[in-house]
Amino acid sequence: MGDLTVNIHNLKLKNPVLTASGTFGYGLEYDDFIDVSRLGGIVVKGTTIHPRQGNEYPRMAETASGMLNSVGLQNKGAKYFATDIYPKLLKYDTNILVNVSGSTIEEYIACAEIINELDHIPGIELNISCPNVKEGGMAFGTSCASIDAVVSAVRKVYHKTMVVKLSPNVTDIGELARAAEASGADSLSLINTLMAMAIDAERRKPILATITGGLSGPAVKPIALRQVWEVSKSVKVPIIGMGGIMNATDAIEFFLAGASAIQVGTANYLDPMITIKIIDGIDDYLNRHKFSSIHDIIGGLQL
């Protein structure tokens, strides 16, 4: 058994496998399938200060090796999370991060303040990369100035581990990653979904009610790997990689590209037990290659 433990700032992960926001609910939905406490961490659904109904239906389109979604941050708000969901999560022995989003900087701050009060939430993932909301979301994540504005503002009120989730819908991700790091991010996670579109030729209509949506799944993996690689060369803070990870080999590729931990997203829909299989598969890989620790492969790409 190799050493799978990694640290992301102050978070001690028993293994480098987390779940991606919006694909794992609050973890509770997975109790029938797996022991959630075996995970390195879970990132719960995108949470905003005010309740949000999300976008119109249809919100999903299957595409080649992936899917588009336009959920639009449907959630019952940070207060509901704190009073109704949080107590149910105390049974888990894992790191629970809340994915924090907002339409304005004030909303990000207000949401982060509420989450800051919750003792058993050791960190947040600041979502400045949601492509499915009209205001805020990704708009914050696509320029250095707006990244600096939102990340430094939240940094002032949030005192635990702050991961900033980057958007892939940018021209120079390395530059934006440096901006997030300079503004106080303890770690960077990437990628969020790619802005994309699906059309029904017969009906001559877009498939999603919102016309465009976010692409996830194996189709995005090569782009995600390239961006994780670029960001790993640009910053010193640890990186959490994701995008199309379907199995342990995919996960290993992200470690080699420079990620210290990974998140599993869309794959959870197909196989709710996949995270456990990935943890076991990473361990197998380490044993097979005679590595004693996951750290032996992080950034270990042979050039």
Binding site: E29, D32, F33, Y57, P58, M60, A61, E62, Y269, L270
Partner: protein, 259 residues
């Protein structure tokens, strides 16, 4: 029973006609109770085009053989691949998912209205209602007589009525043209329906006019099937609800449908 993901063994693949198949799938484990209205999410293995699982109502359950059946109407790649499942092979299946139809607590006269692949969710319902001695009528609408399948099976559990758009069997027209959904509707205490949305809307309208209890089983685009992606919402008086976990069965009084 709680949700599981299992490799179920295909023990029968019945071809009903060109585009309708019934797969009988066997679990190695003892099946616990599965309710009428619940569904299963089947993985289409080794397909280069089908990525997500495909949802199908649980058509029937056999607790002695530990089998569930699904009724598959071929409409695209996923359903086509599943319709070719070979006996003895395995299908990775997530089940049972979703809520359930509400059954009457006392004997009632009930009407089931189905169309297209929607009839699939009504078979186990008809069986349960019949087993509890309710008086069951089943109205099935189709485009043409060749699309009407499994009528003998339905007739074991109640009186079967049919409509076809081309008039090749039963009353000519839509289900709403049939007297049981029209002049005779007041005789029923409950209506359940599953089928194309325009059909369900028409059924809901009739039931609402006469204030008859009415539940519908909805379809939606689903990525997960167990409440985590929030892709499958429908509008209700209590806001957006997930069709896969808070449905697929909804009472018409909570749906925000213009009927």
């Amino acid at each position: 029973m709680r949700k599981t993901v299992q490799n179920l063994k295909v023990i029968a693949n019945l071809r009903l006609n060109d585009d309708h198949h019934i797969l009988r799938l066997q679990s190695a484990d003892k099946l616990e109770q599965i309710h009428p209205g619940q569904f299963a999410n089947l993985l289409v293995a080794n397909s280069s085009t089908v990525f997500l699982r495909r949802p199908f109502s649980i058509y029937s359950v056999d607790y002695t053989l530990n089998t569930i059946s699904v009724y598959i109407k071929i409409i695209g790649e996923g359903t086509r691949a599943l319709s070719k499942a070979v006996v003895g092979s395995e299908i990775d299946t997530m089940f049972p998912l979703g809520n359930k139809f509400t059954l009457p607590t006392e004997k009632e006269k009930v009407l089931l209205v189905g169309g297209g692949s929607g009839v699939a969710s009504l078979m186990s319902l008809a069986q349960s209602l019949h087993a509890k001695s309710n008086e069951v009528a089943i109205l099935i609408g189709a485009r043409s007589s060749k699309d009407l399948v499994e009528l003998d099976e339905f007739s074991k559990f109640g009186t079967v009525y049919t409509t076809t758009e081309d008039g090749t069997q039963g009353v000519k027209g839509y289900v709403t043209n049939h007297p049981v959904l029209d002049l005779e509707l007041s005789a029923f205490q409950r209506v359940y329906s599953c089928g194309p949305e325009p059909m369900m809307k028409a059924v809901a309208k009739k039931a609402k006019e006469k204030s008859i209890f009415c539940e519908l089983s909805l379809e939606n685009t689903m990525a997960c099937g167990f409440g985590v992606c929030l892709c499958c919402i429908t509008k209700t008086i209590d806001g957006h609800k997930c069709v896969c976990t808070e449905g697929p069965v909804f009472n018409i009084n909570i749906l925000k449908w213009e009927i």
